[in-house]
Structure formats: structure tokens, C-alpha cells
């Protein structure tokens, strides 16, 4: 799961990292946004089910709808 600050919201951490990168000579980086990466294993009968369940987790707990957007990727094992 990738959780990122909502577009339009100030992301001071991203800004700070962008500055630090520039100071290190990585001037080609811009639009840095920092969010959370959450990895979890899910028992599910299908990738689709896993997706639905994980979305439910995001809506309920993992992401804050006021400030964050999320993106779920499923990988089968």
C-alpha cells in the first residue's frame, strides 16, 4: 500500500528532502512527496479479494481521508 499526502496539501518533509537532495547535487529531483509504504501479507482466495479487503483496511484505518490518498498493489505469492 502506498499512502501519499493529498495533492495540494503542504508536504514540509518532502520539501526538506528536496532541498537536501539539491544540496547534495541532485538538482534533477523535484516534486518530492513523502508518504508511507505499508507492506502486508493477506490470505485471500483471489487477487481481487485481496485488493478489496486491503482497500477496506485503508478506508478504515491505514489512510486518513482528510489528508491522504492511497494506492494498493497486489502481488501474488
Amino acid at each position: 500500500v502506498r499512502i501519499v499526502p493529498r495533492a495540494g496539501l503542504l508536504d514540509p518533509q518532502g520539501q526538506a528532502v528536496e532541498h537536501a537532495l539539491a544540496a547534495l547535487g541532485f538538482r534533477e529531483a523535484s516534486n518530492v512527496r513523502i508518504g508511507k509504504a505499508i507492506e502486508l501479507a493477506i490470505e485471500a482466495s483471489s487477487a481481487d479479494e485481496a485488493l478489496t479487503r486491503t482497500r477496506a483496511m485503508c478506508d478504515k484505518l491505514l489512510a486518513n481521508p482528510v489528508t491522504e490518498d492511497y494506492l494498493v498493489e497486489v502481488e501474488e505469492r
Binding site: L9, L10, P12, Q13, A16, L61, L62, N64, V66, T67
Partner: protein, 231 residues
């Protein structure tokens, strides 16, 4: 005598400070463990500060699902006074009891320092003993205190006088150094009825003559005289 329930979550660390402040203000205060589902006949509820569940994931995100929270929600909906201090405020925003959210301080570091607050709204369950414009000094101590809200919500908060306290400079002027980057310098907000209030600063650490500051005491005493909004 009014009964005040102070809810203890795992990781609450201002629970005693809050309890003692409420007692000092003349209420009968007691703890309610987060696993309980009843508030024990409380006349008011306080969610204290701390790091409930370590503030892991997001401040207050896990605590809002505690077994006691449905009772707190019902109590608030019925017009019962509910105060959230610091982590308590964060829990209330996560739970949707108050609008907006508290994000990482804009300077990206924890901030622990005294701040000055201007009282903006006295028609609430927790500030009715203050006067508009009163300047209060009390500590803040938080990493996630930057208040944000959708533009629409924000306009509404401002228009309807729901900003309860605002940060100002220690000398009463504009703030001179970033505290946490809150929009409009908002330090605390209320719901439309004024019975639910949340703030990041700590009145519970400014309610004891022995440590030389009682500016926050009336947050706890105000419930004694609260009879509902007169707006």
C-alpha cells in the same frame, strides 16, 4: 458536583495531570479504562494527552477504535461535554468528532515550549469562564500539531466562531517563530454546539499554583457552569 471521566488509553501519559487538574478545578474526576464501554455516569469526558498506541501509523489513528470510543461518540452527540487535549484532540479528529486533522509539525521536529494563546470563543463547555481576548500561557509538546482542514471547513470554522484558541506571540503580538505551522494559527476548535472542544496545548500542565501557572485551570472548571450553547 460534576463527574468527569478521564479516558486512559495504553500510552496515555497526561492521564494523571488531567485527572488532578480536573479535581483541582472542583470536579469529581475518575479514570475510565479504554477497554470499557460505559462512561460511568459522567457529566463530562476528557481524552488526555500522550502517545496512545505509540502514535504508530498516525497520532490517534488506532486509539479511535478503542472499545470506549462508541460511548464517547454517543455522549458527544447527546450534547455531553467532551474535551480532547493534545493526543486527545488528535484522537477526536481521527474519530470525526471534530473536523480537520493534525499533521506533522511544519518544522519537522517535536516542539516542547511555552506558548501564548488568545481565547477566541468562550461559548463552549470548556472556555465559558474565560473572556474573549484573554491571553493564556501554557506548554505545547507535540510532533503532530499542525492543524489542517479543507478550505470549506476552514471557512466555516472561522465564520461560525469555532476556533476556540489561537496561537499568538509570547508577548501577545503575532507569533515570531513557527510553533507547528497550523493554518490560521489555530490551536483549538469546537463543534457547532460548543460541547466538543479539542486543543493541542496543555491546560493540564498549567493548572497548579504549586508550579506557578493556573492559566489552564478554567478549562476544567468551565464544565461546572456549562448549560449548553446559548448561540
Amino acid at each position: 458536583m460534576k463527574k468527569v471521566a478521564v479516558v486512559r488509553f495504553p500510552g496515555s501519559n497526561c492521564d494523571f495531570d488531567t485527572l488532578h487538574s480536573a479535581i483541582r478545578a472542583g470536579t469529581e474526576a475518575y479514570f475510565v479504562w479504554h477497554r470499557e464501554t460505559e462512561l460511568g455516569g459522567a457529566d463530562a469526558v476528557i481524552l488526555p494527552g500522550g502517545f496512545s498506541y505509540g502514535d504508530y501509523l498516525r497520532s490517534g489513528a488506532i486509539a479511535r477504535f478503542s472499545p470506549i470510543m462508541p460511548a464517547v461518540q454517543r455522549f458527544a452527540q447527546d450534547g455531553g461535554p467532551v474535551l480532547g487535549i493534545c493526543n486527545g484532540f488528535q484522537i477526536m479528529c481521527e474519530a470525526g468528532l471534530l473536523p480537520g486533522a493534525l499533521m506533522r509539525n511544519s518544522q519537522l521536529t517535536f516542539v516542547s515550549r511555552p506558548v501564548a494563546l488568545r481565547v477566541e470563543q468562550t461559548d463552549t463547555a470548556f472556555t465559558n469562564l474565560y473572556r474573549k481576548g484573554d491571553l493564556l500561557r501554557m506548554p505545547v509538546a507535540h510532533g503532530d500539531g499542525r492543524y489542517v482542514a479543507e478550505p470549506k471547513t476552514l471557512r466555516e470554522l472561522e465564520a461560525t466562531g469555532r476556533v476556540v484558541v489561537r496561537y499568538v506571540g509570547l508577548d501577545g503580538g503575532p507569533i515570531d517563530r513557527v510553533i507547528n505551522g497550523s493554518v490560521n494559527d489555530i490551536a483549538g476548535v469546537a463543534n457547532a454546539e460548543g460541547n466538543v472542544v479539542g486543543l493541542m496545548p496543555h491546560p493540564d500542565r498549567a493548572a497548579d499554583p504549586a508550579i506557578g501557572n493556573t492559566d489552564g485551570l478554567r478549562f476544567f472548571a468551565s464544565v461546572l457552569s456549562w448549560e449548553g450553547a446559548v448561540r
